[in-house]
Symmetry: C2
Subunit: 538 residues, 2 copies
């Protein structure tokens, strides 16, 4: 069943359209430069305040909702998104230039995430329930009854990302994990896909209504510049921020949150260079396959993934020429890439130009430079492999910076020691990849240690693009890849960002959250007097 | 067996005495104002850098130490502290004025914490190991093998607290939990008890040596002002900060850490007002007992606990006069209180004077104002109960601020609704306490909700002082009681502050941490394909 929807161009405050501000945000089809109707009204300061106030009310009103109700809410959101059908798919394609297959795939991932978090909430173990029973006869002082568990922090601000209009936007991983924790969400739509954002917000609002949740459980606000987002981050009712985007914007949000009278955590995932290391034996035996696979990873999604491999380290020796030749051949065959919008395409060109302006950096290979459906709008990029050596790289910290788009820089090292030294000195990344064969293992050990020190996920003989959504995934890493390396924005640990322990000492049983009651009505795993058990207290 | 030790007055950098700076930190016996030998050399910038550089080396060198080795290290530290015997007890008493029983009790608690964290490390479940096995035949794309677990973040800076010279200082909860996570520690000694700090540091250094750990695993630096601590926080090798102390110092450290090129988390526990709410039925039936117990909690340890109850809300009605009379009687019997040092005593007097300068705030009762062993040094305080009403309290945000010492402010409310409204508007606290009887339960429900919103631990019919060290304890709360309400500084969850998830994708088995190997050699609880199990992978 598909729903027909007329886009309103309004903010959606607690489910109600609101357009007090001037209209100034508008989607643009990057495939042809066409401006897309409607024009979206930027949220005013009063609208932002109203959205947060509604979220605070919702937080109190939703307080005693059961895990089952929250799980059902998440599942209903998934179903409602599906019900948007081709209306949603077409709007995403128009606002982002992403091909249909990718959009349908990302929609599936978004629904999968919502359902995965529903299962986490329903299982219930995530609350880390702990009980120490009373010891009234202990000397010199009795031990009281002490119970604690994770509880939601309160309203969360979520920023939609440009590169994942569904999976990291309005109903993406941040929203899913915040709702799963029991936190209301005020989402700032990404200005590049306001129509997509409105469609998904209506799906969430329907699910909120169906579940009987307070309407302030979800609001959507629009804004073209930094102002609306900053007003949201600075609002005293917001308790945490989820963000995926650029280092500049992420750091600005982090700084604003840290400067508040009451500082709050910012979970900003800001992309990274995702270094790849090719060890000598792997290079000697598999140069062509690694080179080809690498170009596939660099150009996947036009290189617009946070895990795009932007640096490749290889040791000079057998296989290096074949590796370079494979990169050249694969890149040369790549057509012009459609980018999400002209701003990203321009930023990519600038990043490539800056790297090439560095003495000792050259172009090893470039893709086809002409054609492309989106050429008329300027939102296109030419894939490139640049090349330099370890000496140049060591002296030029600028080469350690992400170029968002389909480019990578090959850094030729003298030996594995030099490669390991460079690895240890890299800025933080979401991922680090090592290609090795059995004969490389001794050398790989210290390289793996160095790589682990600067990344959140270590990949063996693979490529970093493609982030599995599962319990064990970690999508986070040392700064500047994120502002909070001990948290993840993908995988079920993401729920932990929006909770805090609360401890109840000698609390009356009838007022305890069900997770902590003697009879363990939810059947969750609990630590009772130091031992893990699903049993009721005897 | 007891150890004789000559205090050196030096910093201890990776186990070696170092005194490059000027001597300027000296303990003072607050009982008589005597300056205590030796004078301690303030760490220079170079010494701070050296300590952190050694910690970074230790972090790499200790990387493959087993959980058993870390557990033994923690236990050996406990034993070495015990071996310091009366030398330590006497030095603590001289530097802090704390009575012998309290010092011995705190020493026991410190050793207990170290042993509790040893048990957590040995059990090993805390690393949150998760495995998703490979699905090579999955369509459209295979699933790789994905494993993740918590790993130590790196060198941690720990600030010793004035009010717990053992349990929250050199080998206190922050150090114990950081080492338990596998992180080296650089500790900034509190300038009020440098000799105590040196003694405990030598105990840690001996344990580090006995265990064969890298000497940079622990260093101690001294500093009288903010400079040494700030240099430590700003050092690029430090990955997290543990702090217990004042709001001013904690916020300054938080701000400095947030302003770093690479920001790091600051786990600052900054004390709080710890409100107590007395509901009408409890007041009518138990006014005297609650009043007496409250004064005991307010004056415990001369009121120098983070959980000292600084605000008491009671409803005007039956029992209020008896409650006030009980407070008066109990306080009037209190002798002059020995404080940790003159600065704290002066700050206390200033806080009391500021509160009393507020129109509508009066003194309900004061303790004995003359005598006291420490009177000659000025490091004494007179216990006080101040009084006001809800109307005054609502208009004077200053009354919401902690007065560190043996004082509390009774706020008389019209009814439970007014009390609940005030509760919801309070600043964040570590604890909130509710006294109620069966007849209060209906009214207590919304009050409990309001209290939970602003505290980390809710206590029923008890008092907030006395923080049980156990798995379920949470000693943290919304700002300004801490800078990180989702973490705790007491209880075994404290270890989580110093770890981050690391994910291994298709990692070679022989290079995996033992916690993630197929055979589960540590026998820990792991989430395998979504289910918790201690089984090996089949």
């Amino acid at each position: 069943m598909e729903t027909t929807l007329t886009l309103t161009g309004a903010n959606l405050i607690a489910g109600k359209p609101s357009s007090q501000g001037q209209g100034s945000v508008q989607g643009v089809d990057p495939r042809n430069g066409t401006r897309l109707e409607p024009t979206y009204s930027e949220a005013t300061a009063a609208e932002v305040r109203a959205a947060v106030a509604q979220a605070s009310q919702a937080f109190r009103a939703n307080r005693n909702r059961s895990p089952e109700e929250w799980a059902t809410l998440l599942e209903t959101i998934a179903t409602e998104i599906e019900s948007l059908g081709d209306t949603l798919v077409e709007r995403v394609m128009a606002e982002t230039g992403l091909p249909e297959g990718r959009v349908r795939g990302e929609r599936g991932r978004t629904m999968g995430q919502l359902r995965l978090f529903a299962s986490v909430v329903r299982t219930g173990d995530w609350v880390d329930a702990r009980i120490e029973t009373a010891l009234p006869d202990r000397a010199p002082i009795p031990r009281p009854d002490i119970r604690s568990m994770l509880r939601p922090t309160g309203p969360v601000a979520v920023f939609g990302a440009s590169n994942f209009p569904l999976a990291f936007s309005v109903a993406g991983g941040d929203t899913a994990s915040a709702l799963a924790a029991g936190c209301p969400v005020v989402c700032k739509a990404h200005p590049a896909h306001p129509g997509t954002s409105e469609l998904v917000a209506t799906a969430i609002n329907r699910a909120v209504e169906t579940g009987g949740f307070h309407p302030g459980t979800f609001s959507l606000v629009h804004g073209g510049g930094a102002e609306v987002g900053m007003a949201l981050v600075r609002d005293s009712g917001i308790t945490a921020v989820g963000f995926t985007g650029s280092l500049g914007a992420g750091r600005a949000i982090y700084d604003a949150a840290a400067a508040r009278p009451i500082p709050i955590p910012v979970y900003a995932e800001m992309g990274s260079v995702n270094p790849v290391f090719v060890l000598p034996n792997a290079l000697a035996t598999r140069a062509e396959a690694i080179g080809k696979g690498l170009v596939g990873s660099v150009t996947l999604g036009s290189g617009q993934f946070c895990t795009n491999p932007g640096l490749v380290f290889a040791v000079d020796g057998p296989g290096l020429n074949e590796f370079a030749a494979a990169l050249e051949e694969a890149v040369a065959a790549c057509p012009v890439q459609q980018m999400l919008h002209k701003g990203i395409a321009d930023g990519y060109d600038e990043g490539v130009a800056n790297a090439l302006a560095t003495e000792g950096v050259t172009t090893l290979a470039a893709g086809v430079t002409a054609g492309g459906d989106g050429a008329s709008s300027g939102a296109v990029a030419v894939p490139r492999v640049l090349q330099t050596d370890a000496g140049v790289f060591r002296k030029q910290p600028g080469l350690n910076q992400e170029i968002f788009g389909p480019a990578t820089l090959l850094v030729v090292c003298r030996d594995v020691e030099e490669m390991t030294e460079l690895a240890a000195g890299l800025e933080g990344s979401l991922t680090g990849t090592v290609h090795f064969d059995a004969g490389d293992l001794d050398a790989a050990s210290s390289l793996f240690d160095a790589v682990e020190g600067v990344v959140g996920r270590v990949i063996s003989n693979g490529f970093p693009t493609g982030v599995e959504v599962c319990h064990a995934m970690h999508h986070g890493g040392p700064y500047p890849s994120t502002t909070a390396p001990s948290t993840t924005s993908v995988g079920t640990r993401a729920i932990l960002r929006f909770a805090r322990p609360v401890c109840y000492q000698d609390h009356p049983s009838e007022l305890l959250p069900s997770a902590l009651r003697d009879e363990n009505p939810l059947g969750i795993l609990r630590m009772v007097d130091g031992s893990l058990t699903r049993d009721a207290l005897s």
